[in-house]
Amino acid sequence: MLIGGAVFPLLGAFFYWFPKVTGRMMGERMGRWQFWLFFIGVNVTFFPMHQLGLQGMPRRIYTYLAESGWGTLNLVSIIGAVVVDMSMLLFVLNVVLSLFRRERAAENPWGAPTLEWAVPSPPPPFNFVVLPVVSSREPLWSRETGGATHVSGLATGTREGLVTTVLDAVPDVRYIYPSPGIWPFVAALAVAGCWLIWSIFSAQGALWGMIPPTIAFIAWFWPRKRENDQHLALEKRP
């Protein structure tokens, strides 16, 4: 269940986003070999287990009596597992070799519809130079002709983001995010170092250990003059 339901899609997603993350495609031929080895291996491993279950073998035991007659099917299962191992070995090899591939992956090698495929692979730290305007769930497939293509008017000197209405996604509020500072880091240290570690060794820590993080959070929240001036310059009442 877990292999079929979670590991297959996980491997699929790995292949899908590998070029976006690393800027390199994964090897297709090796990928095909890996898929078939994995597909066959998984079925050879797990299908006999269904039959073994019907014959009365409980799950997750490492040994059983020879008289139970479960030996042959378990051997088949093991062979399947070895095939799965080979497939995973091929996968790791594919990842390593692909990382050193010379040619670079294109922006959108799959012709995919979503926004991450509109930026270079790997994406620059700022993602988009200008915020794109999106009018559907598949923005790269359905560019609205004649519609606005990007958002303008957001501050460039501060971190200003755009908040839209909940259901219609109409631009609604310019939201100014906090500037970088030391307090988020102090807060993280206070939570981990003080509250978490203290509460492992003493129940008192779960209570009193909350005080240092609280102080850090308040300091984080407290507005600084320079930031405040920037906000006031950009402020517009609703």
Partner: protein
């Protein structure tokens, strides 16, 4: 007067300029569900509310398994808990005023309401401390004691959180530096306080009257 309930787009919408959608004229903050923190607070209330509901269910489940309730002890004294109920209900009045004043950007009224709320909050913490001394049961004494302390403890956690929040906001509103979105903070603080008020009613009923029926 703009009300928070208007979740409509800003009065000044984004304007089309060539290929660009110009958002420079949009407001820089909004009340109610136009604010990001409103959603965070709503999520927090959903989690805390669910925890309260679970604890109340657990309370009555444990009661259904016990021969006597409160197990081998006396019910909590009514005095402090009931005083708390009275005070917290009264606090809803300046709280609702604070919310409205914040939406109206009325700094004077906001200041007065926040000072009143901070004082009431501090008094409530003292009353709550007295409540813990008159529960007539230790938290590690029995299943009854455990669930009562847990219920009161959870609500106290919320009480302390919002009193601390109110104190910080009051200091900020009195001292500055101010900007418009602080009024959103005040309105959201009021929203959370409403939650603390409303949840105290069923928790009070369970903690103080559960053992008496």
């Amino acid at each position: 007067m703009t009300t928070r309930r208007e979740a409509r787009p800003a009065s000044v919408a984004a304007v089309r300029r060539g290929d660009a959608l110009d958002v420079a004229n949009l407001p820089s903050y909004g009340f109610g569900n136009r604010s990001l923190m409103w959603w965070g607070t709503a999520g927090m209330m959903a989690i805390e509310g669910a925890a309260f509901a679970f604890m109340i269910v657990i309370y009555f489940y444990l009661r259904s398994l016990s021969d006597s309730w409160p197990s081998g002890g006396a019910a909590p004294d009514l005095l402090w808990g009931t005083l708390n109920l009275g005070l917290i209900l009264v606090s809803a009045v300046p709280n609702i005023y604070a919310d409205r004043a914040a939406i109206d950007h009325d700094l004077g009224k906001v200041r007065i309401c926040l000072v009143i709320l901070s004082v009431i909050g501090l008094v409530l913490l003292l009353v709550r401390a007295m409540e813990f001394t008159t529960l007539n049961v230790r938290g590690d004494e029995s299943a009854y004691g455990s669930v009562v302390w847990m219920l009161l403890g959870l609500h106290t956690f919320n009480l302390i959180t919002d009193v601390a929040d109110s104190l910080v906001l009051t200091a900020l509103i009195l001292k500055g530096p101010l900007e418009g979105k602080r009024f959103v903070d005040v309105a959201e603080n009021s929203g959370y306080w409403n939650f603390v008020v409303v949840t105290w009613v069923p928790i009070y009923a369970v903690v103080y009257w559960g053992p008496r029926f």
